[in-house]
C-alpha cells in the first residue's frame, strides 16, 4: 500500500480531496461529520447558470420583458453605478437599506437584551413579558406594516420602528436562552470565589450568554434584511426595495433583476461578516 499523498490545498478547498476530518470516514453513508464542503460543485453550478444566461442572451431565446439579456443587464448596471436611479446614486439606495437594517437591529438589541436577561433571571419579569413575547413572536413583521404606517406615517421612523420590532423579539429570546444556558456550577464557582451578584452578572452570565446573543444578532440581521426590502416595496422612495418596485412600474426588468441580485449578494455578505465576527469575537462558542 502506498503512502498517503498529501492533497494540494486547492483540491481540499474544492472538496475534491478529503481533509483531515473527512478522511476518517468510516461508513459509506450516514456519517454526517465526514461530508465535505463539495465546493467544486458549488462553483460548477454558478458557472453553469451564468453560461445558461450567456447562451440564452446570445440566441435571444427569452423576451427581455421577462428576463433581460446578460449584456443588457451589465450595461444597465454600469449606467446605474454612473448615474444612479431616479436622481439617487445606486450606492445610496444600498446604503439607506443597510442603514435601516443596522439601526433596527441595534435598537432591537439595546432594548431586547436587557429584557431577555430580566426574563432569564427573574420570575416576575418572565411572568410579565412571557405572554407579550410569545404572542408577538409568530407574527410576521410585514403584518405590522399597516399599523406602523398608521402610527408613524411613511417616513424613516416608521421603517426603523418596524425593523426594531422585527429584531426585538428575536433578541429577547436569544438573550433569555443565553442566560438560561449558564451552567449552575459556573455561577457557584464565581460566588465561592467571592464575586458579588453584579460581578456574577457581568463576568459569568453575560459572557456565557454572548454566543446565544450573537446567534440572535445573526438571525435578526437576516430577518431585518428581508423585512426592509419588503417594507420599501410598500412605501419608500429610496432603498433597494423601492428601486425594484419603481422599476417594475416602468417595466424595467433589467433594473429589477439587478436589484434582486444586489439584495441577495448583500444578504449573503451580511451573513458572512457576522460569521467572521463571531469567530473573532466569541472563539469559545460551543467549548463550554
Amino acid at each position: 500500500m502506498s503512502a498517503q499523498v498529501k492533497s494540494p490545498r486547492l483540491a481540499i478547498w474544492l472538496g475534491l480531496a478529503d481533509n483531515a476530518f473527512t478522511r476518517q470516514k468510516t461508513v459509506k453513508f450516514g456519517d454526517a461529520a465526514a461530508v465535505n464542503s463539495g465546493r467544486f460543485y458549488s462553483v460548477l453550478v454558478v458557472v453553469v447558470l451564468l453560461l445558461a444566461w450567456v447562451v440564452t442572451s446570445a440566441l435571444n431565446l427569452i423576451e427581455p420583458f421577462y428576463w433581460p439579456t446578460i449584456q443588457g443587464t451589465w450595461d444597465r448596471f454600469t449606467k446605474l453605478v454612473a448615474e444612479g436611479y431616479r436622481n439617487v446614486p445606486l450606492i445610496d439606495h444600498i446604503g439607506i437599506s443597510v442603514y435601516r437594517v443596522l439601526s433596527g437591529v441595534v435598537y432591537g438589541a439595546l432594548v431586547g437584551i436587557p429584557i431577555g436577561f430580566a426574563m432569564g433571571l427573574s420570575s416576575v419579569a418572565r411572568g410579565f413579558m412571557d405572554p407579550i413575547v410569545e404572542f408577538m413572536r409568530p407574527i410576521p413583521p410585514l403584518a405590522l406594516i399597516p399599523l406602523v404606517i398608521l402610527w408613524f406615517g411613511i417616513d424613516e421612523t416608521a421603517k426603523i420602528f418596524l425593523l426594531f420590532l422585527a429584531s426585538l423579539f428575536i433578541m429577547i429570546l436569544a438573550a433569555r436562552a443565553g442566560v438560561s444556558s449558564v451552567r449552575v456550577s459556573k455561577v457557584h464557582a464565581a460566588y465561592s470565589l467571592g464575586a458579588s451578584k453584579l460581578q456574577v452578572l457581568r463576568h459569568v452570565i453575560l459572557p456565557n450568554a454572548l454566543p446565544e446573543i450573537f446567534t440572535g444578532l445573526r438571525t435578526a440581521m437576516g430577518v431585518c434584511w428581508g423585512t426592509v426590502v419588503a417594507a420599501e416595496l410598500v412605501a419608500a422612495d429610496q432603498g433597494l426595495g423601492s428601486m425594484i418596485m419603481i422599476a417594475k412600474n416602468f417595466l424595467q426588468t433589467d433594473t429589477v433583476v439587478i436589484g434582486i441580485i444586489l439584495i441577495g449578494l448583500i444578504g449573503y455578505t451580511i451573513e458572512m461578516v457576522m460569521r467572521w465576527l463571531e469567530r473573532i469575537l466569541i472563539p469559545w462558542k460551543g467549548k463550554g
Binding site: 457557584h188 464557582a189 470565589l193
Partner: protein, 297 residues
C-alpha cells in the same frame, strides 16, 4: 446539646486521637451541627437527603466522604459551600455560621466550572480580580500558582484547549488563588482517566501538605477516598446519614511513599475491601427494594 452532638460525632475515640488540634474543635475548623435536608417533590412527597448529620473537621485536616449514589454527599458539600441552606441545623466555620457562598470556602467542581471565555491566567486570577486586588499582585500570584500546579507556559491559553487533567489543575489553582480557609472538592477527579486521576491525586496530596488547607473531598472512588482522607466518612442513603467513620494513615504515608506502594500495602487493601463490601451491601439493599417493587407491581 447540638455542640456536644457534633463533638461526639467528630472527635475520634481518645486512643486514636493523635492531633492536639482536634481538642479545640468547636472554635476552629468546620463544624457541621446536626443538619437535616428535606426536599419536597412536585407530587408532595418528601425526600430526606440528609438526616441529622454531624461532623467536625479540624483546621488543616483532610476528610473524604464516600457513599452510594443518593446518600446526600453532594447535598452535604452544597450546604457547607453555602449553596443550600439546611432544613435544620447549621454549619459553622471557625465559630461563625455559614450563610451563603464566600471566598473563605473555595470549591473545586467536577468539570465544566471553568470560565471558557477566559484564559488560564484570567481563570486563576478571577477571585483576586473580583476582590479588586492590584494587577501586579494578581500577576505574581498567578505566576506562582502556575508553577505550583505545573502549568508553566500555559498562562495565555484558552482553557478549552487544555486536557481534562490540566483543566482541573487550573480549577485547583483558581481556588488556591483566593487563599480560602477551606477547600471543598466535589468529585474533582471524577471525569479523568485512571492514570491522570492518579497523578492528580498526588497533586492534591502535595497541595494539602504545602498549603496546610482544610480539605473536604467528596468522591465515588474508594481508593481515592482512602488515599486522600485522614478520616473517611462513609454515608448511607435513605435517609442520607453518616454510617461509619475511619481514621486513616494513608495521606501521611503518601507524602513520603510512592502512591502505588501505599495503595498496594496490606492495610490499604484490607480497608479498601471492607469499605467496598459495605458500599456493595448498601447498593444491593437499594437494588433489592427496587427489584421487589418491580416484581410486586
Amino acid at each position: 446539646m447540638t455542640m456536644a452532638a457534633a463533638a461526639r460525632a467528630a472527635t475520634p475515640p481518645p486512643a486514636e486521637r493523635d492531633e492536639p488540634i482536634s481538642g479545640e474543635q468547636p472554635m476552629s475548623g468546620i463544624e457541621i451541627d446536626s443538619i437535616s435536608m428535606e426536599f419536597t417533590l412536585p407530587d408532595g412527597g418528601v425526600v430526606r437527603a440528609l438526616s441529622d448529620v454531624s461532623l467536625g473537621i479540624a483546621t488543616g485536616e483532610m476528610v473524604s466522604v464516600l457513599g452510594p449514589s443518593g446518600c446526600g454527599k453532594t447535598t452535604l458539600l452544597n450546604i457547607v459551600g453555602g449553596f443550600l441552606s439546611p432544613t435544620r441545623g447549621a454549619v459553622r466555620l471557625n465559630g461563625h455560621t455559614v450563610k451563603g457562598p464566600a471566598a473563605e470556602r473555595g470549591v473545586v467542581f467536577q468539570q465544566g466550572a471553568l470560565f471558557e471565555w477566559l484564559t488560564v491566567e484570567q481563570n486563576i486570577g478571577f477571585g483576586p480580580r473580583m476582590a479588586g486586588r492590584p494587577k501586579a499582585e494578581i500577576r505574581d500570584k498567578v505566576h506562582d500558582l502556575l508553577g505550583t500546579v505545573g502549568l508553566q507556559g500555559f498562562a495565555e491559553k484558552p482553557v478549552y484547549q487544555l486536557s481534562g487533567g490540566m483543566q482541573q489543575r487550573v480549577a485547583l489553582a483558581r481556588c488556591l488563588a483566593n487563599d480560602p480557609d477551606v477547600i471543598l472538592m466535589d468529585e474533582p477527579l471524577g471525569a479523568l482517566d485512571a492514570l491522570t486521576r492518579e497523578k492528580m491525586q498526588g497533586l492534591v496530596l502535595r497541595l494539602w501538605k504545602e498549603t496546610g488547607k482544610t480539605i473536604l473531598l467528596i468522591t465515588h472512588s474508594v481508593e481515592e477516598a482512602l488515599y486522600l482522607g485522614q478520616r473517611l466518612i462513609v454515608m448511607a442513603p435513605r435517609p442520607g446519614r453518616i454510617m461509619k467513620e475511619f481514621r486513616l494513615p494513608f495521606p501521611e504515608r503518601g507524602l513520603t511513599m510512592p502512591p502505588r506502594e501505599v495503595k498496594a500495602s496490606s492495610d490499604f487493601v484490607a480497608t479498601r475491601e471492607e469499605v467496598l463490601s459495605m458500599i456493595w451491601s448498601m447498593e444491593e439493599e437499594i437494588m433489592g427494594e427496587n427489584g421487589s417493587s418491580e416484581v410486586s407491581s
